[in-house]
Symmetry: none
Subunit: 132 residues, 4 copies
């Protein structure tokens, strides 16, 4: 528990560094990675997945550019507080494109909204507080 679980698919059409970036973002959203959490060293991560360390490096650099992690030579990669970061300008546009795809295929608005709600709920770190 608390260990970072990544799943890299080398055959996928989405770049490996993007997959790593995406999953770390999800881990932060999920609460599995909190402010101050350390990420595995790039070379360790690369070795674990049988990829080149430059690829892992690029994923970390992307996250650094987005302000989600902080990189220092001696201390490694550390998650930074998720609070002060505003949404990027094109975020709504990307959401629009993605949701349009569902609607264009015949999904109803409530249906799509429900899917979004389910995804968001899955990020909620509070696991059923009412189970006595």
């Amino acid at each position: 528990m608390g260990t970072l679980i990544l799943n890299v698919d080398l055959a996928a059409d989405v770049p490996i560094y993007q997959q790593i970036r995406d999953q770390i973002v999800e881990a932060i959203a999920h609460g599995a990675l909190k402010d101050g959490s350390s990420l595995p060293p790039t070379r360790t991560l690369a070795a674990d997945f049988g990829i080149n360390f430059h690829t892992a490096n690029k994923a970390y650099d992307l996250l650094r550019q987005e302000g989600l992690i902080r990189l220092s030579r001696g201390t490694g990669a550390v998650v930074t507080a998720p609070a002060a970061n505003p949404l990027p300008a094109d975020w709504t546009g990307r959401v629009r494109t993605l949701l349009a795809e569902a609607v264009a295929r015949g999904a109803s608005a409530p249906e799509v909204l429900e899917a979004c709600r389910t995804v968001l709920d899955s990020f909620n770190p509070k696991q059923q507080e009412g189970t006595p």
Copy 2:
């Protein structure tokens, strides 16, 4: 009314063929393009935007692969019924990644959900304020 308005930004970092595909998808979701609507010939479209014919072609081919349009030599590109197309397998995953990005940056779940709702509402073609 009903004319397709595309807006291609050659300076954007998203590929041109993707921009065309995205906007056609949004037009379908919006109702501006309905089942049976004709799309402009690729050569016309390419000429209009000063882009390569192959680029326009690629956008249409993408849409054909997604099952959203039908291409035939004589009749050109025609939008197909949106009801028959199931969501692609990775759609939820892409939504998950996109919403995670917002949450990781500190947005609250209701806030994100509201953004989705606004986007979905903007697709609704029926502004049926007076249908009792």
Copy 3:
């Protein structure tokens, strides 16, 4: 005239990609590179200076992140309009550190200011308009 002149020192302690970035920034400030100007292809530039194309690539990527150039796969690197880009937040801090170094070494404030003025004048693209 109008050709981009770069000067790369492989023995310097400042990274090569930074040298390239700096000189392109100066060329833009100078007016030698204007909005819409094309930059040499990364591989060509790399070959010209006997460096690896990845190093040239990194310089271009830096400039892209700063919003000073635009990269597209087919069309190469193009300078973007210098107008809408706000100064980065830490710019004043960097100026402060640099000017403090001069003052700490005994330079007077007017002396330092004059040096700045000289540098800024050298960027001025208007070359002595009074030579008939």
Copy 4:
């Protein structure tokens, strides 16, 4: 009054030893540290900020190489006279790069010069409004 105030940000992307060096340089420019002023022992400084002793050491060594302080075993680190130090050869070049960055982003020359003037004024320790 006269006590040296340092502000080390371990999260910043600029190296810690550089931050220390920069702030001491600014303190000298400011007049907070004068010729003959003693600097805190590196071990004290390291302990105060919870940083490695070698890191503090490196900052002092940098300043010694620049001729701004003098190190001796018994007396510790002492600021040396600011009048005797010429500007380093690359100083103008660094100013040029930094000011070019502002101009390339659309700032006007007077605007940039004014920023420099403001910074230089902030170094002026004599607010001698009443010395006739």
